[in-house]
Symmetry: C2
Subunit: 376 residues, 2 copies
């Protein structure tokens, strides 16, 4: 197997870039004096996660119990499931814990805690639960000063569960693109979560873990006083959305889609490739950012950006490559049928999810298939 003969489309991981990204984040969080618990929802791929752990990460974050099960089977015990658990999934969580997985759950409501307590008591299991804090009105969680925080915490403890700590994610950090704004939302995430932890401790409740994080805030925080661990996911590959946010250069994007030119509409300046939205995902995350990259930024097969060529539109298995701005009247000669290109994606988590496997491109040019799991 070599790059020149690889079937297209394929999801390529540039291992040198990935290792650079892993080292960059680990170095930064070491310097900030906090533990790092990467979010594996981006890759869902054991070799990637093992590289993160080998570089110093402690434990992992998952977005599904499928991820927990797959990575526990690969020998990883310290796992937080960072989504409020649906009551119907408690038997799966119990089975993982009984098998030896140190699985931590998340809750942000009395009703959610009541379901965990009832099930835990019925089965004699003291689940460890972290309370989700809402630091930016983005999604889930209890705001730091909200009256509901202490009743939820007391219900957990009185119900015989283990209150492990607090967890927050400033998802709105993706909406900013200046260092000042990113530093501000990072501090808001830190301060709000630490405040919630303080309220628990002031009430005599335990709160060992203060867990925060997103790729932008992890890279923008000026200090992390009071925080015990940070979570981040997409940094491992980076992507065009994160490039627009301002936290990576395009030369740091480790995931790309290898594709082949299959046709042209020369008078429109189009080359047609065999990667459409099935290969890129439907994610158009850069659409409302400062630079709209369409369905992706075009690179040569080597991985070097080719200038201002984008995948401007996509059908299921057809992508249209054209020059941003003026049409390229010479596109048929520039990219003849059979030309192989690499497309940098808007959103690595979404693009990776379109593939049952990655192809890892090693520093020596060697290719290795890395399986990827999906589903729930």
């Amino acid at each position: 197997m070599n790059l020149q003969s690889l079937n297209t489309p394929a999801a390529l991981i540039d291992v040198a870039r990935m290792n650079h990204n892993i080292a960059r984040m680990q170095r930064r969080l070491d310097a900030l004096g906090v533990a790092f618990r990467p979010h594996v929802k981006t890759s869902k791929c054991e070799p990637v996660v093992q590289a993160q752990l080998a570089a110093g990460a402690r434990g992992i974050t998952v977005s599904t119990l499928k991820e927990a099960g797959q990575l526990f089977a690969a020998g990883i015990r310290d796992i937080v499931y960072a989504v409020s658990i649906a009551p119907g999934k408690l038997p799966q969580a119990l089975a993982l814990r009984r098998a030896g997985c140190s699985l931590k759950l998340v809750a942000d409501s009395l009703a959610g805690v009541d379901a965990i307590v009832a099930f835990g008591r019925e089965h004699g299991e003291a689940f460890e639960v972290w309370i989700e804090i809402d630091v930016d009105g983005h999604r889930s969680g209890i705001p730091p000063e909200d009256a509901a925080l202490l009743p939820v915490a007391h219900a957990l403890v009185n119900g015989g569960m283990r209150l492990g700590g607090v967890i927050a994610h400033a998802g709105s950090s993706y909406e900013y693109d200046t260092p000042e704004a990113l530093a501000r939302i990072a501090e808001q995430e830190r301060a709000g979560t630490v405040r919630a932890a303080q309220r628990l401790r002031d009430a005599g409740l335990p709160c060992d873990v203060v867990s925060i994080g997103s790729t932008p805030t992890a890279l923008a925080a000026e200090h992390l006083d009071g925080v015990t661990e940070v979570r981040a996911g997409v940094y491992v590959f980076f992507d065009l959305v994160m490039h627009n946010v301002g936290v990576n250069d395009t030369s740091e994007i480790a995931l790309s889609v290898l594709t082949t030119v299959i046709g042209h509409q020369p008078e429109k300046g189009w080359a047609i490739v065999d990667a459409g939205w099935m290969a890129m995902s439907r994610d158009r995350g850069t659409q409302r950012q400062k630079h709209d990259f369409g369905y992706g930024l075009v690179c040569a097969e080597s991985g070097d950006v080719l200038g201002d060529y984008l995948m401007t539109t996509a059908n299921q298995e057809h992508g249209v490559i054209s020059r941003n701005g003026a049409p390229d009247s010479d596109i048929e000669r520039r990219f003849p049928i059979g030309t192989r290109l690499r497309i940098l994606p808007n959103h690595a988590c979404a693009t990776g999810a379109q593939y049952p496997e990655y192809v890892a491109l090693g520093t020596d040019g060697e290719l290795t298939t890395w399986p990827r799991f999906s589903g729930w």
Copy 2:
């Protein structure tokens, strides 16, 4: 396994609705006097395709050679790969033909034909090729009156390949939403493709097949004189995009995502569910249509539409359900934690692709797992 205990999120196929959709399209094309060759890219699922064939379809259309290989292995021989083939995929196509698959290829350029001819001659294989016709400037193909049509056809025949016919897809039909506009684009698709066939025949070239189709044009065409077969894909499930186009009612949508409520932000009128964009796909196809359904339309677990509740935003594993228009101040009591809902998708092809399997809900309430393949 029953609906009430099924793990969420899950991709449910309502088999009664699917069978209704299959019968509706087959009846219509029977009445129009043309063969029907469904596009399997929507389902990528053998039981669905077998139901289409059992109802009268003749052969299938595929968007990838993976689909061709999987369905040939299931016993289906008559297959057209409706994407211009990348030269690097010719060995795969050859292997399928040598194994007994009647695989037809598509080309729309001299360079594409030259690659097929060179490879075919080298391996002593007379590939059957259909020439793609561009009837609406939507994507690929040679316009019906274009000077390139005859040279491409002659190059195929003179190169020893078999010219099987012409094939077109009026992809722009998705952009219309009135019966008049749909009838007009359907006639444009028919007339352009028949005209291209006539030009080939006038030049003494063979053109047995005149293949057209899309779900909207197949349902809108007033007659199909000169056409030999129609292709359509998404009709098997239908979706909200097609609903906006005007070809199906929401009660005909056969694919939905089963999900569970995991939390609330009551003051915002939000219920949070365990289906995010990973479960729905990032497809926001209704965004620029007359009715924007967000990430999907909310139904009860039974499948009945609940009124004007949408999945308004989505993160990877979180969906936000809210009432379109005025926030529902009572949402916490309306949809308590643990409530199970079904979400109708924007685009069935994209949503199905997020799952390794469907769960088929039979008319008797019985559930069956139907595997789905993916990748290339």
